[in-house]
Symmetry: C2
Subunit: 174 residues, 2 copies
């Protein structure tokens, strides 16, 4: 079984990476409960939204993200049992490309470079399972099993099998 696994908000905690940078810059606190009820952009002043987007282009942002809980153990088990590819739409942020490679080297050293994909579109990748936090990737995935990894931004989405965390992913895929 071939599985393609997204990086940001599935393996790497880009969401809280953004929140933390924002909180530090404006010396404020974003209510973690509210994040699950409202969109992040509705919790900050409108004029701050572009500043937040800018974080994604800052050197070091992707390199320093925390690993999402359980990702290392479960992906190692998936790697041993299935054919696993890591697949990130990183081409949008050219400064992130080597950072993502280095991040994988540090946190997921068992994932051979041959099984890493940095791209834009993902619909042309042939696999049995896609695990991704973005509905727009799952919508056009051609394989049979479309798994939505829960993230604050996709909480209202109902079209795909939802995977709330890596424990749930393990139950489904191991």
């Amino acid at each position: 079984m071939r599985i393609i696994i997204d990086m940001d908000e599935v393996m790497a905690d880009a969401y809280w990476g953004l929140v933390e940078k924002y909180e530090n810059q404006f010396n404020t606190t974003i209510d973690q409960e509210q994040v699950w009820e409202k969109k992040l952009r509705d919790l900050i002043p409108e004029e701050h939204y572009k500043i937040g987007i800018g974080y994604l282009y800052e050197p070091g942002f992707f390199r320093n993200l925390r690993v999402i809980k359980g990702a290392q153990e479960v992906i190692k088990a998936l790697w041993d049992k299935h054919e696993v590819f890591i697949c990130s739409a990183a081409m949008q942020f050219p400064q992130s490309l080597q950072e993502k490679s280095d991040w994988l080297d540090e946190h997921f050293p068992f994932i051979d470079w041959k099984y890493r994909i940095l791209c834009g579109h993902k619909y042309m990748i042939d696999a049995d399972v896609m695990l991704d936090d973005h509905a727009y990737n799952l919508e056009v995935f051609t394989g049979p099993q479309k798994l939505l990894f829960t993230s604050p931004h996709n909480i209202a989405e109902e079209r795909f099998t939802r995977v709330d965390n890596w424990e749930a992913a393990a139950k489904l895929l191991l």
Copy 2:
């Protein structure tokens, strides 16, 4: 029709990039005729081979490669007519990742980031045509049309439709 096009030795002249660096370092000249008859490693002292491989890891190597003749015009025409993805096994050389993105921005600015793939294996990409200089990529490509772009290292290969240059590629694909 979806076409995946390799970068090194198809769009970017990595081969002559290596030869030029070698010639400059050792103040020598490699006979360009001989390159098509013998493997490059048979034209240099054995102890120099590792030095040559090292060039691939040097910052700037991939950024400064020349564009292979005709690639810009023909790929633009292919882009306008077909669904074109650029696909390079760049994950082997992490320092090359942003360089390849920047190189495409400079020489192929019309190729949207969503249609750029940096990876290792290529066999999981679903397409109708693969244009690549490496037989090992064509061997495992699952699409119907496997086109071998001629490069000194593949001159003895006979299993695939050979494309000697971009003029020939245009005749086949446009």
